[in-house]
Point group: C2
Chain length 359, copies 2
């Protein structure tokens, strides 16, 4: 019996058929960098995102010319496309009419409640949800100037105001985000949002997280903490890198927490002076070949025969490397010795034998 968490109590929303919240699997998102007027480039990018595990994709619509390709992208995309609009409510209305599976706006930069209402009406008509995306850097002047509140409290106040307005306008098909680039501020904000607005599904992210390495660390630390507490219904890892690089990080976080699994898990030791093979290369080779298989198994690649099979006895299969040979094992039980040059091949033969035909 699994324990219930905050994400089991959020209102479930459907983004183009992909459920989100209310105990649905935590959804993995990314965002296009190709301009939407180049529909072909966008669709290519979407395909590479999908291959890497993307379930929902967002596209910025910075101007009316960006709307041209947008409706074609929405028609052809294998996953739902969310339109991201700043400043101009007319772009949001047009995106809703042109096939967007959801809208993302920051009501604080739309200009007036009347304009926000026009966006709400368009979303109602199209039967699509809206994500209210708040950003620490762009809070309303009113909330921003309050000296009595911390930044997380300001973001939560702002979120409550917006949610109140949407609910009063008869619209509750909403998802909420409140991103900052500081990990602790982000964590505190989402914890408070989850307590104060427990029914609203939350989209998690650390914004402007930085380059690939720094962004991976900050997202893993911050989103990991929240997801472990049961907070967050969908996530986007933001990296200053190719969008497809965001996906292995998002999936890695979910996998580390046992929330979802995509493909095999590799267990490999950091090597020490006991190790007599080039384990880095070997582990890399195994990781790459595993990616093509998508089997939900754990595979160990260990640097010594002394500790290897024992330390990786929970692995479904593994190899412990010695001098010029390796020991193949499964669930801690030794299968056979294999010569060094065919370690990877023999490992994958055994994987094929044991796991490829299972239901």
């Amino acid at each position: 019996m699994e324990q219930k968490t905050p994400r089991d109590y959020t209102h479930q929303v459907s983004v183009g058929g992909v459920t989100l919240g209310g105990g649905a699997p935590v959804r993995v998102q990314s965002m296009l960098t190709a301009p939407t007027k180049d529909a072909l480039a966008c669709l290519e990018q979407i395909n590479s995102l999908v291959e890497n595990g993307c379930e929902l994709v967002r596209a910025a619509i910075p101007s009316s010319s960006a709307l041209e390709g947008f409706s074609e992208i929405c028609k052809e995309s294998p996953i739902p496309v969310i339109a991201d609009i700043h400043f101009d409510y007319r772009l949001a209305v047009a995106a809703a009419q042109n096939g967007a599976a959801a809208l993302r706006i920051n009501p604080g930069n739309i200009g007036s409640w009347e304009k926000v209402n026009a966006v709400i009406d368009a979303a109602k008509q199209a039967s699509i949800p809206i994500r209210i995306g708040i950003n620490a850097g762009s809070l309303s002047a009113e909330v921003s100037s309050r000296q009595d509140l911390t930044l997380p409290q300001k973001m939560v106040e702002c979120a409550k105001d917006y949610v109140d307005h949407f609910i009063k306008a008869g619209f509750d098909d909403i998802v909420l985000s409140a991103k900052a680039h500081d990990v602790l501020i982000t964590v505190e904000t989402y914890r408070e949002l989850s307590r104060k607005l427990p029914s609203i599904p939350l989209h998690l992210g650390i914004t402007e997280a930085g380059t690939k390495l720094q962004g991976t660390i900050k997202s893993s630390v911050g989103l990991g903490m929240l997801l472990a507490e049961g907070i967050g219904d969908t996530l986007r890892v933001s990296l200053t890198a190719e969008p497809k690089d965001e996906l292995p990080v998002a999936w890695g976080i979910l996998q580390a927490l046992g929330l979802r699994r995509r493909g095999a898990e590799l267990i490999s030791c950091p090597t020490c002076a006991r190790c007599r093979v080039n384990l880095f290369d070997l582990a890399q080779q195994v990781e790459e070949r595993l990616q093509t298989l998508r089997l939900p198994i754990s595979v160990a690649v260990m640097g010594c025969e002394v500790n290897g099979p024992g330390e990786a006895k929970n692995a479904d299969i593994g190899v412990a490397c010695g001098l010029r040979s390796g020991t193949l094992f499964a669930h801690g039980e030794i299968l056979r010795q294999i010569p060094e040059e065919s370690i990877v091949d023999e490992l994958f033969k055994e994987i094929a034998l044991r796991f490829n035909n299972r239901p």
Copy 2:
């Protein structure tokens, strides 16, 4: 006034003059992969680790021949060297006599309490601490077979037995670790260790965490959670990669949680269709040049002039890139426009001007 955390209440230990526990800064460790008999190669590796922020280094002593270079390494190393010994207590005794700043043993594989006592005596004589390193994969048969305990409970039971023995032997200069390759098991184990043995400093790590990306994610998620709860006095990030690659990850985790800071923080947006420059290259260039400076400042590199200065207004300095030019800003205030080709140079000129001469 900072709130006290579990790490403020651990007993403080000194590893070759580097304090650990009792509210000392969370110490960053790594481990040599070069064999200790090649002292020169080890010292070179240590220098590259130190450059990347390593404060304590561990060396495996798998045999008596490994002891040869070890004492020379201990003499020449700019940071304390910890000897890591499995199975043979005589190697641990000899390492203590040959300059080790601390020992790391797993009492479960030393053979008998008498042999463990010989190691304790050698550490007493040398006035050095011992890390008791438990590993989920190598628990004592007695504890391992208990059906009434979960794996984290088994590790904690095992740790308590060992700690009891050391204390009874009149030795409390200990650090404790209990690593697993599963993130949630590791987190649960350390939380329980911190509750049950609140005075013992804890060395954190996820073992066999995998390749660079997977290991970075698993370590960031797991160690991040623990460190955020105030648990953990020192950490090692284990990656199946070059040891020096472990250090930016360890520092990145500490920095993300505001626990320690090493050098500048880069804030950069993930780019979207609004972005008209190659921000990935630009951010990478800025990150690399920042690493040489070691200034504790935050620097923003943003993809558009619309949101850039606002979203990064907490940054000490930053640039928002537009079409063929950039906007230089500091604390959200715009300084001046700069042409695209000199964005990086102008940014660093301004950094030198503003921060290089500050106390």
